[in-house]
Structures are given as C-alpha cells and as structure tokens.
C-alpha cells in the first residue's frame, strides 16, 4: 500500500486540528498491518490490539510536536515495535535464531536438474515456472488470492512476516526497515527473500490448482 507523502501530510495537519475523519482514514490505512506486526511480539490478539491502541494514543498525544519530516508510517511502526517489545517476552536474539535455523532454498531443489547431468542447476523441463495468470481486482480469483496470501503471511515465522509486511505490504524501503528493526541490511534481505519465496510458492501452487 503505497501512500503519497503529500496525502499523509495533509491528514496529519487535519489531525492536529482534531479532525476525526483524518484520524479514521489513518487508522483504516495502517491498523491491519500494525496488528500483524504487533502479533509477532505478543502472546494474544487482545494484547496486540492494546499495543496498537496505545500507539495511536501516543501519536495523538505527540501530534503537536510530530515532525512531518519523518514519515508518519515509520514513526508509527517504530513506536509500535517499542511498545510491543515491552509487552512481549520474545527477544531480539530470536531474529538470529530464525535466520540461522533456515536450511532450504527459495525453490524446491527437486525442480532443478541434478549435478552431473547436462544443464545441471537449470529447471527440469516440466518444472520451470509459468507466468501467473491475470487476477483482476475484485474478481473471485483475485479475492481468493488475497485471502490465500493473507493466510500464508500469518503462517510465516514472526520476523519474516514482520519484514514482509513492512517492505511489501506497506512499501517501506530496505533502509527504513533495517533501521526500524535494528537489523543489518543483509539480515533484512535474508528475511525478505525467504518470506517472498514462501509466498511465491503458495501462490504458484494455488494458481496451478485453480487453472
């Protein structure tokens, strides 16, 4: 969900004046992703909702001093993660564990020709990917695809889900996400890579079946 800065700036300006519609628009836009990220730190949906509510209240309390120079989105998620961490019991160390625990590749190795064969390391004849069909917005397939994607996103390990949400759902930059989560650029990319690979595989399986 990419949002223009100008649009966000005007919502922040309206919020300063106590405009409820501006608050509602911002809440609508950011809350689902905030809940997903908070859920990676705390034990229950109820606590995640409390964390999200606390974050919005922190914004309201600080709105007069909020600097438009920093993006609202980055501010919200930085505060959210900080509150979630104090409410959650999981530690940052978990990121490293999740990175090192992974052993597989982006694609099932059985889909490539084995070592020693001609064209080893290349796609087997019937295993090469085919283009995804068009799934127009609002179509049944499009809606189902979104539901499948949401379910799979919820199943990912928490740190992959968090990075994928920030990068691909919210459209933050790599630099923003590394800084916000206090992880290296390389680890940020590893988590993104694995999350995307898992989602791609799910969509490929789903679209193959629905053909």
């Amino acid at each position: 969900m990419t949002v223009s800065t100008a649009d966000e700036d005007s919502l922040v300006a309206a919020l300063r004046l106590g405009d409820e519609a501006a608050f509602a628009a911002l809440v609508e836009r950011h809350t689902p992703s905030m809940l997903r990220v908070a859920g990676g730190y705390v034990a229950s949906r109820e606590i995640a909702e409390e964390v999200v509510q606390e974050t919005w209240l922190a914004l309201l309390k600080g709105i007069d001093t909020f600097e438009c120079r920093s993006s609202l989105r980055t501010w919200l998620f930085t505060v959210l993660v900080n509150i979630a961490k104090t409410r959650g019991m999981r530690e940052r160390r978990e990121i490293e564990v999740q990175i090192t625990a992974f052993t597989g590749g982006a694609v099932d190795p059985a889909r490539f020709r084995a070592d020693g064969q001609q064209w080893d390391g290349h796609w087997k004849e019937h295993e090469a990917p085919a283009p995804f069909p068009d799934t127009p917005e609002g179509s049944v397939l499009g809606d189902e695809l979104l539901a499948v994607t949401r379910r799979e996103l919820d199943k990912l390990p928490a740190r992959q889900r968090e990075v994928l949400t920030m990068r691909d759902v919210l459209g933050m930059t790599a630099a923003e996400v590394s800084a916000l989560l206090e992880i290296s650029a390389v680890n940020q990319r590893v988590l993104l890579h694995r999350g995307r690979a898992a989602l791609r595989q799910t969509l490929e399986d789903y679209l193959k079946e629905s053909r």
Binding site: M1, T2, G18, E20, F23, A24, V27, E28, T31, P32, S33, R36, E49, V52, Q53, W56, L57, L60, K61, G105, A106, V107, P109, F112, D120, G121, H122, W123, A128, P129, A130, P131, F132, T135, E137, L145, L146, T149, R150, L153, L164, D168, V169, G171, A174, A185, R189, L192, H193, R196, A197, L199, R200, L203, E204
Partner: protein
Amino acid sequence: MSDAESMDCIRLVELVTDYLDGVLDPDTRARFDRHLGECEGCHNYLQQLRSTVSVLGKVDSGQLDPAFRDRLLAAFRDWR
C-alpha cells in the same frame, strides 16, 4: 558457456531479492540479466515474484475489523 559467465537457475532464484533491491555487484548483475534473457523459466520466476509483491501490497486494504475501528474512534473522542 564458461563458469565465469554463466549463472544456473538454482543460483539465480537465490539472487532475485538482491537483484530487485539493486544490490548485486555489476558483474553478477550482468550475468543475471544475460541469464534472464535466455531462460524463460527464470524470466517467469521473476514475473511470479513481482506479482507476489504486488498481491502483498493489497492484502491489508479494507481489512480493519469494524469493532476495533469503533474502539479506536471512541478513544479518539475521549482524547479530544
């Protein structure tokens, strides 16, 4: 194809994220692009990944639970 110039499909799929973020070194990027031009499977793989990213960009639109929205708006009114 010599080893220095070629890139296997199995290797390419691990470099896609770096490729899309523009962080491959120029030599690897050139090999990536050359492979992509010659390999339909990898070309499609990249297309699938781009579609995946684009689908992800839509998953949260209109997903706010109305009951939670009402609670947040009530909190807003209290604050104001």
